[in-house]
Protein backbone atom coordinates (compact mmCIF):
# COMPACT_ATOMS: atom_id res chain seq x y z
CA UNK A 1 0.00 0.00 0.00
CA UNK A 2 2.85 2.37 -0.71
CA UNK A 3 2.53 5.42 -2.94
CA UNK A 4 -1.22 5.75 -2.90
CA UNK A 5 -2.52 8.54 -5.09
CA UNK A 6 -5.19 10.50 -3.29
CA UNK A 7 -7.63 12.42 -5.40
CA UNK A 8 -7.10 12.50 -9.14
CA UNK A 9 -3.87 14.45 -9.23
CA UNK A 10 -1.46 13.24 -11.89
CA UNK A 11 2.08 14.56 -11.64
CA UNK A 12 3.10 16.57 -14.67
CA UNK A 13 4.80 19.70 -15.74
CA UNK A 14 3.08 22.57 -17.51
CA UNK A 15 1.92 26.09 -16.78
CA UNK A 16 -1.27 24.68 -15.30
CA UNK A 17 0.75 22.82 -12.67
CA UNK A 18 2.76 25.88 -11.73
CA UNK A 19 -0.26 28.10 -11.34
CA UNK A 20 -1.31 29.22 -7.87
CA UNK A 21 -4.20 27.03 -6.67
CA UNK A 22 -6.17 30.16 -5.74
CA UNK A 23 -5.93 31.37 -9.33
CA UNK A 24 -7.18 28.06 -10.63
CA UNK A 25 -10.12 28.02 -8.25
CA UNK A 26 -11.14 31.62 -8.95
CA UNK A 27 -10.69 31.17 -12.72
CA UNK A 28 -12.75 27.98 -12.54
CA UNK A 29 -15.60 29.84 -10.83
CA UNK A 30 -15.50 32.66 -13.37
CA UNK A 31 -15.45 30.26 -16.31
CA UNK A 32 -18.30 28.23 -14.81
CA UNK A 33 -20.43 31.37 -14.63
CA UNK A 34 -19.47 32.11 -18.23
CA UNK A 35 -20.57 28.63 -19.26
CA UNK A 36 -23.98 29.28 -17.77
CA UNK A 37 -24.38 32.60 -19.54
CA UNK A 38 -23.27 31.16 -22.87
CA UNK A 39 -25.88 30.40 -25.56
CA UNK A 40 -25.77 29.46 -29.22
CA UNK A 41 -24.44 26.41 -31.03
CA UNK A 42 -21.50 28.21 -32.61
CA UNK A 43 -20.49 29.86 -29.33
CA UNK A 44 -20.68 26.53 -27.53
CA UNK A 45 -18.40 24.88 -30.03
CA UNK A 46 -15.96 27.77 -29.87
CA UNK A 47 -15.89 27.41 -26.06
CA UNK A 48 -15.31 23.68 -26.38
CA UNK A 49 -12.52 24.34 -28.85
CA UNK A 50 -10.88 26.77 -26.45
CA UNK A 51 -11.03 24.19 -23.68
CA UNK A 52 -9.48 21.62 -25.99
CA UNK A 53 -6.71 24.11 -26.71
CA UNK A 54 -6.22 24.57 -22.96
CA UNK A 55 -5.94 20.81 -22.52
CA UNK A 56 -3.35 20.58 -25.27
CA UNK A 57 -1.31 23.54 -24.03
CA UNK A 58 -1.48 22.23 -20.47
CA UNK A 59 -0.30 18.83 -21.68
CA UNK A 60 -3.20 17.05 -20.06
CA UNK A 61 -4.13 13.54 -21.07
CA UNK A 62 -7.43 14.02 -22.94
CA UNK A 63 -8.40 10.39 -22.50
CA UNK A 64 -8.38 10.90 -18.76
CA UNK A 65 -10.68 13.90 -19.09
CA UNK A 66 -13.08 11.92 -21.24
CA UNK A 67 -12.99 9.11 -18.71
CA UNK A 68 -13.92 11.71 -16.10
CA UNK A 69 -16.98 12.60 -18.19
CA UNK A 70 -18.21 9.03 -18.37
CA UNK A 71 -20.21 9.00 -15.13
CA UNK A 72 -21.97 12.10 -16.45
CA UNK A 73 -23.46 10.25 -19.44
CA UNK A 74 -26.55 9.08 -17.57
CA UNK A 75 -27.33 12.57 -16.32
CA UNK A 76 -26.76 14.10 -19.76
CA UNK A 77 -29.07 11.64 -21.52
CA UNK A 78 -31.67 12.04 -18.80
CA UNK A 79 -31.82 15.85 -19.00
CA UNK A 80 -31.83 15.77 -22.80
CA UNK A 81 -34.72 13.29 -22.92
CA UNK A 82 -36.61 15.33 -20.38
CA UNK A 83 -36.23 18.47 -22.45
CA UNK A 84 -37.34 16.71 -25.64
CA UNK A 85 -40.43 15.28 -23.97
CA UNK A 86 -41.62 18.24 -21.98
CA UNK A 87 -40.34 21.48 -23.43
CA UNK A 88 -43.16 22.70 -25.68
CA UNK A 89 -42.03 26.17 -26.61
CA UNK A 90 -40.77 27.47 -29.89
CA UNK A 91 -41.60 26.31 -33.41
CA UNK A 92 -42.38 22.65 -34.00
CA UNK A 93 -39.56 20.74 -35.66
CA UNK A 94 -40.80 17.18 -36.08
CA UNK A 95 -44.02 15.39 -35.25
CA UNK A 96 -44.11 11.66 -34.67
CA UNK A 97 -47.69 10.47 -34.97
CA UNK A 98 -48.55 7.24 -33.33
CA UNK A 99 -50.98 4.48 -34.23
CA UNK A 100 -53.91 4.08 -31.89
CA UNK A 101 -52.85 0.67 -30.58
CA UNK A 102 -49.40 1.99 -29.62
CA UNK A 103 -50.49 5.03 -27.70
CA UNK A 104 -47.98 6.15 -25.09
CA UNK A 105 -49.55 7.62 -21.98
CA UNK A 106 -47.55 10.38 -20.37
CA UNK A 107 -48.68 11.16 -16.87
CA UNK A 108 -46.56 12.06 -13.90
CA UNK A 109 -47.24 8.74 -12.17
CA UNK A 110 -46.38 6.79 -15.32
CA UNK A 111 -43.15 8.69 -15.69
CA UNK A 112 -42.38 8.08 -12.03
CA UNK A 113 -42.87 4.36 -12.61
CA UNK A 114 -40.48 4.44 -15.56
CA UNK A 115 -37.92 6.42 -13.57
CA UNK A 116 -38.24 3.79 -10.84
CA UNK A 117 -37.59 1.03 -13.34
CA UNK A 118 -34.58 2.85 -14.73
CA UNK A 119 -33.17 3.39 -11.26
CA UNK A 120 -33.71 -0.27 -10.47
CA UNK A 121 -31.76 -1.12 -13.60
CA UNK A 122 -29.01 1.33 -12.69
CA UNK A 123 -28.38 -0.15 -9.25
CA UNK A 124 -28.88 -3.80 -10.08
CA UNK A 125 -27.11 -4.01 -13.43
CA UNK A 126 -23.77 -4.97 -11.86
CA UNK A 127 -25.27 -8.10 -10.35
CA UNK A 128 -26.75 -9.32 -13.64
CA UNK A 129 -25.01 -11.64 -16.06
CA UNK A 130 -26.11 -10.39 -19.50
CA UNK A 131 -25.92 -6.64 -19.12
CA UNK A 132 -26.83 -5.61 -22.67
CA UNK A 133 -29.85 -7.89 -22.64
CA UNK A 134 -30.84 -6.44 -19.29
CA UNK A 135 -30.60 -2.91 -20.69
CA UNK A 136 -32.77 -3.81 -23.70
CA UNK A 137 -35.27 -5.53 -21.42
CA UNK A 138 -35.42 -2.42 -19.24
CA UNK A 139 -36.05 -0.16 -22.24
CA UNK A 140 -38.74 -2.40 -23.70
CA UNK A 141 -40.28 -2.72 -20.26
CA UNK A 142 -40.36 1.05 -19.82
CA UNK A 143 -42.14 1.55 -23.16
CA UNK A 144 -44.55 -1.24 -22.32
CA UNK A 145 -45.30 0.49 -19.04
CA UNK A 146 -46.03 3.76 -20.81
CA UNK A 147 -48.39 1.98 -23.23
CA UNK A 148 -50.32 -0.04 -20.69
CA UNK A 149 -50.34 2.08 -17.56
CA UNK A 150 -52.80 4.94 -17.28
CA UNK A 151 -52.18 6.22 -13.79
CA UNK A 152 -53.46 9.67 -12.90
CA UNK A 153 -53.97 12.51 -15.34
CA UNK A 154 -52.63 11.73 -18.79
CA UNK A 155 -51.45 15.05 -20.20
CA UNK A 156 -49.97 13.80 -23.41
CA UNK A 157 -50.68 10.74 -25.49
CA UNK A 158 -48.95 9.19 -28.39
CA UNK A 159 -47.79 11.95 -30.60
CA UNK A 160 -44.37 13.16 -29.84
CA UNK A 161 -43.72 16.66 -31.07
CA UNK A 162 -40.21 17.94 -30.85
CA UNK A 163 -39.93 21.69 -30.51
CA UNK A 164 -36.98 23.77 -31.48
CA UNK A 165 -36.42 25.17 -27.98
CA UNK A 166 -36.40 21.67 -26.53
CA UNK A 167 -33.53 20.62 -28.77
CA UNK A 168 -31.67 23.86 -28.18
CA UNK A 169 -32.07 23.98 -24.42
CA UNK A 170 -31.34 20.28 -24.06
CA UNK A 171 -28.22 20.64 -26.11
CA UNK A 172 -27.08 23.74 -24.24
CA UNK A 173 -27.55 22.09 -20.86
CA UNK A 174 -25.55 19.10 -22.05
CA UNK A 175 -22.75 21.27 -23.35
CA UNK A 176 -22.66 23.39 -20.21
CA UNK A 177 -22.39 20.32 -18.01
CA UNK A 178 -19.60 18.95 -20.19
CA UNK A 179 -17.73 22.26 -20.07
CA UNK A 180 -18.08 22.57 -16.29
CA UNK A 181 -17.01 19.02 -15.57
CA UNK A 182 -14.07 19.28 -17.96
CA UNK A 183 -12.90 22.49 -16.32
CA UNK A 184 -13.10 21.09 -12.83
CA UNK A 185 -11.35 17.94 -14.01
CA UNK A 186 -8.50 20.15 -15.21
CA UNK A 187 -8.32 21.64 -11.72
CA UNK A 188 -8.23 18.32 -9.90
CA UNK A 189 -5.83 16.71 -12.37
CA UNK A 190 -3.26 19.47 -12.08
CA UNK A 191 -3.48 20.40 -8.40
CA UNK A 192 -2.16 18.35 -5.50
CA UNK A 193 -4.88 17.72 -2.89
CA UNK A 194 -2.84 19.57 -0.28
CA UNK A 195 -2.43 22.59 -2.56
CA UNK A 196 -6.10 22.47 -3.44
CA UNK A 197 -6.88 22.50 0.27
CA UNK A 198 -4.58 25.45 0.82
CA UNK A 199 -6.12 27.32 -2.10
CA UNK A 200 -9.68 26.62 -0.97
CA UNK A 201 -8.87 27.79 2.52
CA UNK A 202 -7.48 31.01 1.16
CA UNK A 203 -10.35 31.61 -1.28
CA UNK A 204 -13.01 30.85 1.33
CA UNK A 205 -11.43 33.09 3.97
CA UNK A 206 -14.20 35.72 3.67
CA UNK A 207 -16.53 33.12 5.16
CA UNK A 208 -15.17 34.10 8.57
CA UNK A 209 -17.60 37.01 8.50
CA UNK A 210 -20.42 34.50 8.82
CA UNK A 211 -18.47 32.72 11.58
CA UNK A 212 -17.19 29.79 9.55
CA UNK A 213 -13.59 29.08 10.47
CA UNK A 214 -11.97 28.03 7.21
CA UNK A 215 -8.60 27.46 8.88
CA UNK A 216 -10.03 24.73 11.07
CA UNK A 217 -11.84 23.18 8.13
CA UNK A 218 -8.62 23.19 6.14
CA UNK A 219 -6.84 21.52 9.07
CA UNK A 220 -9.50 18.83 9.19
CA UNK A 221 -9.17 18.18 5.45
CA UNK A 222 -5.37 18.15 5.68
CA UNK A 223 -5.47 15.56 8.45
CA UNK A 224 -8.01 13.48 6.53
CA UNK A 225 -5.70 13.55 3.50
CA UNK A 226 -2.78 12.57 5.71
CA UNK A 227 -4.60 9.61 7.23
CA UNK A 228 -6.24 8.13 4.12
CA UNK A 229 -3.19 5.97 3.23
CA UNK A 230 -2.73 4.92 6.85
CA UNK A 231 -6.36 3.87 7.18
CA UNK A 232 -6.30 2.06 3.83
CA UNK A 233 -3.30 0.16 5.10
CA UNK A 234 -5.25 -0.65 8.22
CA UNK A 235 -8.29 -1.78 6.21
CA UNK A 236 -6.06 -4.05 4.19
CA UNK A 237 -4.64 -5.59 7.36
CA UNK A 238 -8.10 -6.17 8.80
CA UNK A 239 -9.30 -7.74 5.57
CA UNK A 240 -6.37 -10.12 5.64
CA UNK A 241 -7.01 -10.90 9.30
CA UNK A 242 -10.69 -11.58 8.60
CA UNK A 243 -9.82 -13.61 5.51
CA UNK A 244 -7.54 -15.76 7.63
CA UNK A 245 -10.56 -16.51 9.80
CA UNK A 246 -12.57 -17.58 6.80
CA UNK A 247 -14.37 -14.42 5.68
CA UNK A 248 -14.51 -14.27 1.90
CA UNK A 249 -14.87 -10.68 0.71
CA UNK A 250 -15.26 -11.48 -2.98
CA UNK A 251 -18.07 -14.00 -3.08
CA UNK A 252 -21.38 -14.77 -1.53
CA UNK A 253 -24.90 -13.41 -1.68
CA UNK A 254 -25.95 -9.85 -1.03
CA UNK A 255 -26.74 -10.63 2.60
CA UNK A 256 -23.36 -12.28 3.20
CA UNK A 257 -21.63 -9.34 1.59
CA UNK A 258 -23.29 -6.91 3.98
CA UNK A 259 -22.14 -9.03 6.90
CA UNK A 260 -18.62 -9.11 5.53
CA UNK A 261 -18.54 -5.35 5.19
CA UNK A 262 -19.75 -5.04 8.78
CA UNK A 263 -16.87 -7.25 9.89
CA UNK A 264 -14.55 -4.77 8.21
CA UNK A 265 -16.30 -1.57 9.25
CA UNK A 266 -16.62 -2.21 12.97
CA UNK A 267 -12.89 -2.68 13.60
CA UNK A 268 -12.16 0.22 11.25
CA UNK A 269 -14.38 2.50 13.32
CA UNK A 270 -12.79 1.44 16.59
CA UNK A 271 -9.28 1.88 15.21
CA UNK A 272 -10.11 5.27 13.74
CA UNK A 273 -11.48 6.52 17.05
CA UNK A 274 -8.42 5.28 18.91
CA UNK A 275 -6.14 6.86 16.37
CA UNK A 276 -7.91 10.18 16.42
CA UNK A 277 -7.76 10.24 20.20
CA UNK A 278 -4.01 9.71 20.16
CA UNK A 279 -3.57 12.19 17.35
CA UNK A 280 -5.54 14.82 19.25
CA UNK A 281 -3.25 14.26 22.24
CA UNK A 282 -0.16 14.58 20.07
CA UNK A 283 -1.48 17.77 18.48
CA UNK A 284 -2.38 19.33 21.82
CA UNK A 285 0.97 18.37 23.29
CA UNK A 286 2.55 20.35 20.47
CA UNK A 287 0.70 23.49 21.47
CA UNK A 288 -2.16 23.24 19.00
CA UNK A 289 -5.17 25.23 20.14
CA UNK A 290 -8.11 25.27 17.74
CA UNK A 291 -8.86 28.78 16.58
CA UNK A 292 -5.59 30.30 17.76
CA UNK A 293 -3.62 32.28 15.21
CA UNK A 294 -0.87 30.26 13.51
CA UNK A 295 1.85 31.13 11.07
CA UNK A 296 2.08 28.97 7.97
CA UNK A 297 5.02 27.20 6.40
CA UNK A 298 3.29 26.95 3.05
CA UNK A 299 2.48 30.35 1.75
CA UNK A 300 1.02 30.94 -1.66
CA UNK A 301 2.80 33.46 -3.82
CA UNK A 302 0.75 35.50 -6.27
CA UNK A 303 2.62 36.22 -9.48
CA UNK A 304 2.05 38.18 -12.69
CA UNK A 305 0.92 35.04 -14.47
CA UNK A 306 -1.86 34.63 -11.94
CA UNK A 307 -3.13 38.17 -12.43
CA UNK A 308 -3.09 37.63 -16.19
CA UNK A 309 -4.98 34.35 -15.85
CA UNK A 310 -7.69 36.03 -13.81
CA UNK A 311 -7.90 38.91 -16.31
CA UNK A 312 -8.24 36.45 -19.21
CA UNK A 313 -11.02 34.56 -17.48
CA UNK A 314 -12.77 37.83 -16.62
CA UNK A 315 -12.47 38.81 -20.28
CA UNK A 316 -14.06 35.50 -21.24
CA UNK A 317 -16.95 36.26 -18.89
CA UNK A 318 -17.28 39.79 -20.23
CA UNK A 319 -17.34 38.64 -23.84
CA UNK A 320 -19.91 35.96 -23.09
CA UNK A 321 -22.14 38.53 -21.39
CA UNK A 322 -21.67 40.91 -24.34
CA UNK A 323 -22.65 38.16 -26.79
CA UNK A 324 -25.76 37.49 -24.74
CA UNK A 325 -26.73 41.15 -24.42
CA UNK A 326 -26.07 41.98 -28.07
CA UNK A 327 -27.98 38.87 -28.99
CA UNK A 328 -25.49 36.87 -31.00
CA UNK A 329 -26.77 33.45 -30.10
CA UNK A 330 -25.81 31.50 -33.14
Amino acid sequence: MKNIVIGRFIPGNSFLYKMDPRTKIIALIILMISAFVLRGFMNMFIALGLILLLLLLGRINIIRVIRGLKPLMFLLLFTFTFQILFNETGPVLIVFEQEASWTLHYSWLNILAVVGVVFFWFFTRRFVRFRLLYLVATLVGSIALLINLQLGYVFNTGDLTIHQNAVETGFFIMMRLIIIVTLSTILTLTTKPTDLNLGLESVLKPLKYIRINTEEMAMIIAIALRYIPTLLDEANKIMLAQASRGVDFSEGKMKDKVMQIVSLLVPMFIISFKRSDELANAMEARCFVPGNPRTRLHQLAWTYADTITIIISLMALASVITLRVVGINV
Binding site: D233, A282, R294, T295
Partner: protein, 268 residues
Protein backbone atom coordinates in the same frame (compact mmCIF):
# COMPACT_ATOMS: atom_id res chain seq x y z
CA UNK B 1 18.08 23.15 40.13
CA UNK B 2 14.83 21.24 40.00
CA UNK B 3 13.06 21.57 36.70
CA UNK B 4 10.09 19.38 37.68
CA UNK B 5 8.58 19.23 41.14
CA UNK B 6 5.63 16.97 41.79
CA UNK B 7 3.87 17.07 45.16
CA UNK B 8 1.21 14.67 46.42
CA UNK B 9 -0.07 14.06 42.92
CA UNK B 10 -3.15 11.86 42.65
CA UNK B 11 -5.32 10.91 39.74
CA UNK B 12 -8.28 8.66 39.15
CA UNK B 13 -11.04 8.12 36.62
CA UNK B 14 -13.30 6.52 39.26
CA UNK B 15 -12.76 7.59 42.87
CA UNK B 16 -12.54 4.01 44.15
CA UNK B 17 -9.91 3.02 41.58
CA UNK B 18 -6.97 5.40 41.88
CA UNK B 19 -4.56 5.42 38.97
CA UNK B 20 -1.89 7.45 40.76
CA UNK B 21 -1.62 7.84 44.53
CA UNK B 22 0.38 10.58 46.28
CA UNK B 23 3.30 10.80 43.91
CA UNK B 24 6.19 12.96 45.09
CA UNK B 25 9.02 13.48 42.67
CA UNK B 26 11.64 16.03 41.77
CA UNK B 27 13.67 15.98 38.60
CA UNK B 28 16.82 18.03 38.20
CA UNK B 29 17.65 20.02 35.10
CA UNK B 30 19.62 17.90 32.66
CA UNK B 31 18.74 14.68 34.42
CA UNK B 32 17.65 11.47 32.72
CA UNK B 33 14.91 9.73 34.62
CA UNK B 34 13.31 6.44 33.73
CA UNK B 35 9.84 5.54 34.88
CA UNK B 36 9.56 1.78 35.03
CA UNK B 37 6.41 -0.18 35.62
CA UNK B 38 4.18 -2.94 34.38
CA UNK B 39 1.14 -2.29 32.19
CA UNK B 40 -1.45 -0.28 34.06
CA UNK B 41 0.97 0.94 36.71
CA UNK B 42 0.08 4.54 35.85
CA UNK B 43 3.27 5.52 34.08
CA UNK B 44 1.62 6.84 30.92
CA UNK B 45 -0.98 8.65 33.02
CA UNK B 46 1.87 10.42 34.82
CA UNK B 47 3.25 11.57 31.46
CA UNK B 48 -0.15 12.87 30.37
CA UNK B 49 -0.51 14.75 33.66
CA UNK B 50 2.91 16.33 33.21
CA UNK B 51 2.03 17.72 29.81
CA UNK B 52 -1.43 18.81 30.87
CA UNK B 53 -3.45 16.39 28.76
CA UNK B 54 -5.11 15.18 31.96
CA UNK B 55 -5.88 17.27 35.01
CA UNK B 56 -4.72 16.09 38.44
CA UNK B 57 -7.38 15.37 41.04
CA UNK B 58 -5.11 16.64 43.80
CA UNK B 59 -1.52 17.71 44.25
CA UNK B 60 0.63 20.11 42.27
CA UNK B 61 3.04 19.91 39.38
CA UNK B 62 5.61 22.66 38.98
CA UNK B 63 7.63 22.82 35.82
CA UNK B 64 10.47 25.32 35.65
CA UNK B 65 9.02 27.09 38.70
CA UNK B 66 5.64 27.47 37.06
CA UNK B 67 2.66 25.70 38.50
CA UNK B 68 0.69 23.68 35.97
CA UNK B 69 -2.92 24.84 35.73
CA UNK B 70 -5.39 25.90 33.07
CA UNK B 71 -3.77 29.29 32.61
CA UNK B 72 -0.20 28.08 32.37
CA UNK B 73 -0.70 24.87 30.39
CA UNK B 74 0.10 26.52 27.05
CA UNK B 75 3.33 28.12 28.24
CA UNK B 76 4.34 24.87 29.98
CA UNK B 77 3.77 22.87 26.81
CA UNK B 78 6.42 25.03 25.17
CA UNK B 79 8.93 23.71 27.69
CA UNK B 80 7.99 20.06 27.61
CA UNK B 81 7.55 17.78 24.64
CA UNK B 82 6.40 14.20 24.37
CA UNK B 83 7.11 11.41 21.90
CA UNK B 84 4.31 8.85 22.01
CA UNK B 85 4.37 5.14 21.40
CA UNK B 86 2.72 4.83 17.99
CA UNK B 87 4.77 6.60 15.32
CA UNK B 88 1.79 6.82 12.96
CA UNK B 89 -0.61 8.49 15.34
CA UNK B 90 1.52 11.53 16.07
CA UNK B 91 2.53 12.38 12.53
CA UNK B 92 0.36 15.40 11.77
CA UNK B 93 1.89 16.77 8.57
CA UNK B 94 1.51 15.39 5.08
CA UNK B 95 5.30 15.37 4.68
CA UNK B 96 8.26 15.32 7.07
CA UNK B 97 8.74 19.02 6.53
CA UNK B 98 5.09 19.79 7.33
CA UNK B 99 5.23 17.66 10.44
CA UNK B 100 8.26 19.40 11.90
CA UNK B 101 6.61 22.70 10.97
CA UNK B 102 3.35 21.84 12.76
CA UNK B 103 4.56 22.75 16.26
CA UNK B 104 6.32 25.85 14.98
CA UNK B 105 3.17 27.01 13.21
CA UNK B 106 1.30 26.64 16.48
CA UNK B 107 3.89 28.81 18.21
CA UNK B 108 3.47 31.45 15.47
CA UNK B 109 7.16 31.37 14.56
CA UNK B 110 7.88 33.55 11.50
CA UNK B 111 8.23 31.59 8.27
CA UNK B 112 11.93 32.33 7.64
CA UNK B 113 12.91 31.16 11.11
CA UNK B 114 10.67 28.14 10.70
CA UNK B 115 12.51 27.06 7.55
CA UNK B 116 15.83 27.55 9.30
CA UNK B 117 14.80 25.50 12.34
CA UNK B 118 13.37 22.71 10.17
CA UNK B 119 16.68 22.39 8.34
CA UNK B 120 18.70 22.44 11.56
CA UNK B 121 16.68 19.87 13.45
CA UNK B 122 16.07 17.57 10.50
CA UNK B 123 19.83 17.43 10.15
CA UNK B 124 20.17 16.73 13.84
CA UNK B 125 18.08 13.56 13.58
CA UNK B 126 19.59 12.68 10.16
CA UNK B 127 16.33 13.17 8.29
CA UNK B 128 17.49 15.96 5.98
CA UNK B 129 17.13 13.97 2.78
CA UNK B 130 13.63 12.82 3.75
CA UNK B 131 12.09 16.27 4.20
CA UNK B 132 9.69 15.87 1.28
CA UNK B 133 8.78 12.26 2.02
CA UNK B 134 5.32 11.20 3.10
CA UNK B 135 4.85 9.22 6.32
CA UNK B 136 3.90 5.96 4.61
CA UNK B 137 7.28 5.98 2.88
CA UNK B 138 9.12 6.06 6.22
CA UNK B 139 10.00 3.34 8.73
CA UNK B 140 8.76 3.50 12.32
CA UNK B 141 12.16 4.61 13.57
CA UNK B 142 12.34 7.39 11.00
CA UNK B 143 8.88 8.61 12.01
CA UNK B 144 9.92 8.70 15.66
CA UNK B 145 13.00 10.68 14.68
CA UNK B 146 10.75 13.16 12.89
CA UNK B 147 8.67 13.41 16.07
CA UNK B 148 11.85 14.16 18.05
CA UNK B 149 12.89 16.81 15.52
CA UNK B 150 9.41 18.36 15.75
CA UNK B 151 9.81 18.71 19.51
CA UNK B 152 13.42 19.88 19.43
CA UNK B 153 12.50 22.54 16.88
CA UNK B 154 10.14 24.03 19.45
CA UNK B 155 13.17 24.50 21.74
CA UNK B 156 11.80 22.45 24.60
CA UNK B 157 13.91 21.78 27.70
CA UNK B 158 12.25 18.50 28.66
CA UNK B 159 11.34 15.55 26.45
CA UNK B 160 9.20 12.66 27.60
CA UNK B 161 9.55 9.41 25.67
CA UNK B 162 6.36 7.46 26.37
CA UNK B 163 7.33 3.94 25.28
CA UNK B 164 8.61 5.52 22.10
CA UNK B 165 10.80 2.59 21.15
CA UNK B 166 8.38 -0.24 21.86
CA UNK B 167 7.01 -0.41 18.30
CA UNK B 168 10.38 -0.17 16.56
CA UNK B 169 12.76 -2.78 15.20
CA UNK B 170 16.09 -3.23 17.05
CA UNK B 171 17.97 -0.93 14.70
CA UNK B 172 15.43 1.85 14.95
CA UNK B 173 15.34 1.47 18.72
CA UNK B 174 19.13 1.61 19.00
CA UNK B 175 19.15 4.84 17.00
CA UNK B 176 16.46 6.49 19.13
CA UNK B 177 18.36 5.49 22.29
CA UNK B 178 21.50 7.06 20.85
CA UNK B 179 19.61 10.29 20.21
CA UNK B 180 18.31 10.26 23.77
CA UNK B 181 21.87 9.98 25.00
CA UNK B 182 23.14 12.77 22.76
CA UNK B 183 20.31 15.07 23.77
CA UNK B 184 20.88 14.34 27.43
CA UNK B 185 24.58 15.16 27.02
CA UNK B 186 23.54 18.47 25.48
CA UNK B 187 21.56 19.32 28.59
CA UNK B 188 18.02 18.28 27.67
CA UNK B 189 16.10 16.80 30.58
CA UNK B 190 14.81 13.40 29.56
CA UNK B 191 12.06 11.26 31.01
CA UNK B 192 11.68 7.82 29.47
CA UNK B 193 8.71 5.63 30.22
CA UNK B 194 9.35 2.00 29.49
CA UNK B 195 9.30 -1.55 30.65
CA UNK B 196 12.51 -2.36 28.86
CA UNK B 197 15.42 -2.72 31.30
CA UNK B 198 17.98 -2.12 28.57
CA UNK B 199 16.54 1.32 28.08
CA UNK B 200 16.30 2.02 31.80
CA UNK B 201 19.96 1.24 32.42
CA UNK B 202 21.08 4.23 30.35
CA UNK B 203 19.39 6.75 32.64
CA UNK B 204 20.60 8.46 35.83
CA UNK B 205 17.72 7.53 38.07
CA UNK B 206 14.86 5.06 37.95
CA UNK B 207 11.39 5.44 39.41
CA UNK B 208 9.52 2.16 39.76
CA UNK B 209 5.75 2.46 39.79
CA UNK B 210 3.36 -0.26 40.89
CA UNK B 211 -0.41 0.17 40.94
CA UNK B 212 -0.02 3.93 40.94
CA UNK B 213 2.42 4.14 43.84
CA UNK B 214 6.14 4.74 43.96
CA UNK B 215 7.72 1.38 44.73
CA UNK B 216 11.31 2.52 44.54
CA UNK B 217 13.25 5.59 43.52
CA UNK B 218 16.99 5.27 43.26
CA UNK B 219 19.98 5.46 40.95
CA UNK B 220 19.85 3.18 37.95
CA UNK B 221 22.55 0.87 39.31
CA UNK B 222 20.78 0.38 42.62
CA UNK B 223 17.39 -0.34 41.07
CA UNK B 224 18.77 -2.76 38.51
CA UNK B 225 20.22 -5.12 41.06
CA UNK B 226 17.20 -4.89 43.34
CA UNK B 227 15.75 -8.26 42.46
CA UNK B 228 12.84 -8.00 44.91
CA UNK B 229 11.54 -4.68 43.63
CA UNK B 230 11.76 -5.79 40.05
CA UNK B 231 10.00 -9.05 40.76
CA UNK B 232 7.25 -7.18 42.58
CA UNK B 233 6.55 -5.09 39.53
CA UNK B 234 6.73 -7.94 37.02
CA UNK B 235 9.98 -6.74 35.49
CA UNK B 236 12.84 -8.93 34.45
CA UNK B 237 16.47 -8.65 35.48
CA UNK B 238 18.99 -7.93 32.77
CA UNK B 239 20.72 -11.01 31.44
CA UNK B 240 24.21 -10.33 32.93
CA UNK B 241 22.60 -9.70 36.33
CA UNK B 242 20.71 -12.96 36.03
CA UNK B 243 24.04 -14.66 35.35
CA UNK B 244 25.57 -13.04 38.45
CA UNK B 245 22.66 -14.29 40.55
CA UNK B 246 23.03 -17.79 39.19
CA UNK B 247 26.76 -17.73 39.90
CA UNK B 248 26.01 -16.77 43.49
CA UNK B 249 23.45 -19.51 43.82
CA UNK B 250 25.97 -22.08 42.60
CA UNK B 251 28.66 -20.62 44.85
CA UNK B 252 30.96 -19.87 41.97
CA UNK B 253 33.25 -17.01 43.05
CA UNK B 254 35.06 -15.20 40.32
CA UNK B 255 35.43 -11.50 41.11
CA UNK B 256 36.76 -10.60 37.69
CA UNK B 257 33.82 -12.19 35.87
CA UNK B 258 31.39 -10.63 38.33
CA UNK B 259 32.65 -7.11 37.83
CA UNK B 260 32.76 -7.60 34.08
CA UNK B 261 29.15 -8.78 34.00
CA UNK B 262 28.11 -5.87 36.20
CA UNK B 263 29.77 -3.42 33.86
CA UNK B 264 28.15 -5.11 30.89
CA UNK B 265 24.71 -4.66 32.36
CA UNK B 266 25.31 -0.98 33.09
CA UNK B 267 26.22 -0.19 29.49
CA UNK B 268 22.98 -1.69 28.29
Amino acid sequence: MNIIEIENLSFYYQADKPVLKDINLTIKKGEWLTILGHNGSGKSTLAKLLIGLLRAKSGTIRIDNEELNQNTVQSIRRKIGIVFQNPDNQFVGVTVRDDIAFGLENLSIPREEMIERIETYAQKVSMSEFLNKEPHALSGGQKQRVAIAGILAMHTDIIIFDESTSMLDPKGRRMILDYMKTLNDEGVTIITITHDMKEAVLSDRILVLKNGEVLKMDTAANVLKDKITLEKSNLELLLPLKVINRLEEKNIKNEELRSYLWQLSLTG
